[in-house]
Symmetry: C2
């Protein structure tokens, strides 16, 4: 069932049907006739043919590192809510934290598969820049700051700085940290820098050998906390770069009979569901992940329409969630 079948049945030309579908000039009675036939047949135009003809896909490629992560899921929820409301659909590319896959998907989308891309970034390599710099379609980056792409990101640095001050106010002086790869600029570098600068501003020395790194997992938090407390038993603050890591650390500390926050204070980042119900409730920072997704989608839509929006970058606010894992 195609447009010319409908045209024949309605006694008009296929051009008329096309006009009907696209709100073009059409007399009242032809409109009626076409409407009737379409309703009777349940005809819907072929998206494939429309795409080929109009060069528009109404598809947005969304590249994510891992869907099974609370923060990413929230961003995706924000993205889809805005995009769907505007008649776009999302092509989801889950890279499972694999850089090769990430580059590969970016390349697949690069040409003419989608109208635009939203890229939730973690680690950015030179190859990323190469691919992203000469895209023929608009791209918005989420979660990392970029100087060559419009982006929406969180103020990881100041969030970390504020959190560090919470520890300091509570009297903590011998800091340890459990982080992630420095290559993740926002998280691995930015949050650690916030900690270091806060300590410097308060004349507190940081023992760099107490800064560990590992994956974004509870297991890393558990293992590294164990390592830290064994090698540096006088540690009184463990600065965890994500709630997941903090959850693992807390689990270890409790098992080891180390009191939180009395003997060791702990923080996380992300305000996860778990942070609200773990004992002690985790002092953490809320990032506006859903908003980030929404803004990213809105920005992409603007780019799609106006063709030349001045390259914007948006830094989102944060909120320190003071709970019970840092002593006061």
């Amino acid at each position: 069932m195609n447009i010319s079948d409908i045209a024949k049945m309605a006694g008009v030309s296929s051009a008329a049907v096309s006009r009907y579908l696209n709100n073009g000039y059409l007399s009242r009675d032809k409109k009626e006739a076409i409407k009737k036939v379409i309703e009777e047949t349940g005809y819907t135009p072929s998206k494939q043919a429309q795409m080929l003809r109009t060069k528009k896909t109404n598809l947005i490629g969304v590249v994510i590192p891992n869907i099974d992560s609370e923060s990413v899921a929230r961003m995706v929820a924000g993205i889809t809510s805005i995009l769907n409301a505007s008649g776009y659909e999302t092509l989801l590319a889950n890279t499972e934290n694999n850089v090769e896959k990430e580059l590969s998907y970016l390349n697949i989308f690069k040409n003419n598969r989608v109208d635009g891309i939203i890229f939730i970034a973690t680690v950015l390599t030179r190859k990323h820049k190469e691919i992203l710099k000469d895209m023929s379609i608009p791209v918005v980056m989420l979660g990392q700051k970029s100087d060559y792409l419009p982006c929406i990101y969180h103020d990881d640095y100041h969030a970390a700085y504020d959190l560090a001050e919470e520890f300091i106010k509570g009297g903590c002086r011998r800091f340890a940290a459990i982080g992630v790869t420095k290559k993740d600029i926002a998280v691995g570098t930015g949050r650690i820098q916030g900690l270091l600068d806060a300590c410097r501003d308060h004349d507190i020395e940081v023992d760099f050998s107490r800064i560990k790194t590992g994956p974004f997992s509870m297991q890393s938090g558990y293992d590294n906390a164990a390592l830290l407390m064994k090698n540096y038993p006088d540690t009184d603050a463990i600065f965890c770069l994500t709630d997941q890591i903090a959850t693992g650390a807390i689990t270890y500390l409790k098992e080891a009979g180390i009191s939180i926050p009395k003997q060791v204070s702990v923080c996380g980042f992300g305000h996860s569901r778990t942070s609200k119900v773990i004992t002690p409730a985790l002092t953490t920072v809320h990032f506006y992940y859903r908003t980030c997704g929404e803004n990213g989608a809105a920005l992409l839509l603007a780019l799609l329409q106006e063709k030349e929006v001045p390259v914007k970058s948006i830094q989102l606010n944060y909120e320190v969630i003071r709970q019970d894992s840092i002593r006061r």
Copy 2:
């Protein structure tokens, strides 16, 4: 840059290029020539044109109720891992628990937009059946049992039965439950039925007025637990139909100074991240969500290839996670 440009540059016909792209008959030297030109130009064939021509999209529509849910996210992770490995991409439709949207997306996908559909179902109405029954493309349903579609689902009933027996073994006799709409057959009906049948088999009477329902949220758990303990203070077991609900219930009980599991025992379903770290650790049941997604994708792929796989339905196993929220 299209196929005939490449053909000209390589000194061959466009058909030759097409054959090169699709592994057709081609002499060695022409192959070389075409390869060279394609590499130089970075040409990639237009997916839109291919779709129109071949009637294949290599797209799978994935309809989900809400991406910001641990169980759904795990299923999606499983789906994408299998689909991507087979060269398919996923068109994600997040319905935000809105039945209208769900029907609408199913309809959008119904015709020729995608090659197949994976549908993570919750509540099934007559309209769903109407739409799903005369699909021109294969559909696999996840999370609910269906008699008219291939489906993969969990053994909610026996999981609930086993969990109920845990309560009974621990000496609980005055059951309450916090559930969800009965229209969700797997969760709202199946799990409650498991509880009721276990009680019946152990000659325990259930006071139906202690069975509450609400949304899939922590808030519902909190509010309903409060309501229950106020109206039926002798309750010694709260059977929560999801971990989220259980988390809310536990939060209330702790606030109210009611000891868990001593005075009131609690269970959940889903083996969420939170269930592992909340105090007391939640006795719950593990469902193989990721496997469910993987199997669903694999089943759809089989359907896509063989055209006529006998309508299969797969019931997945479960594992009771005995932790500390039910007394022993």
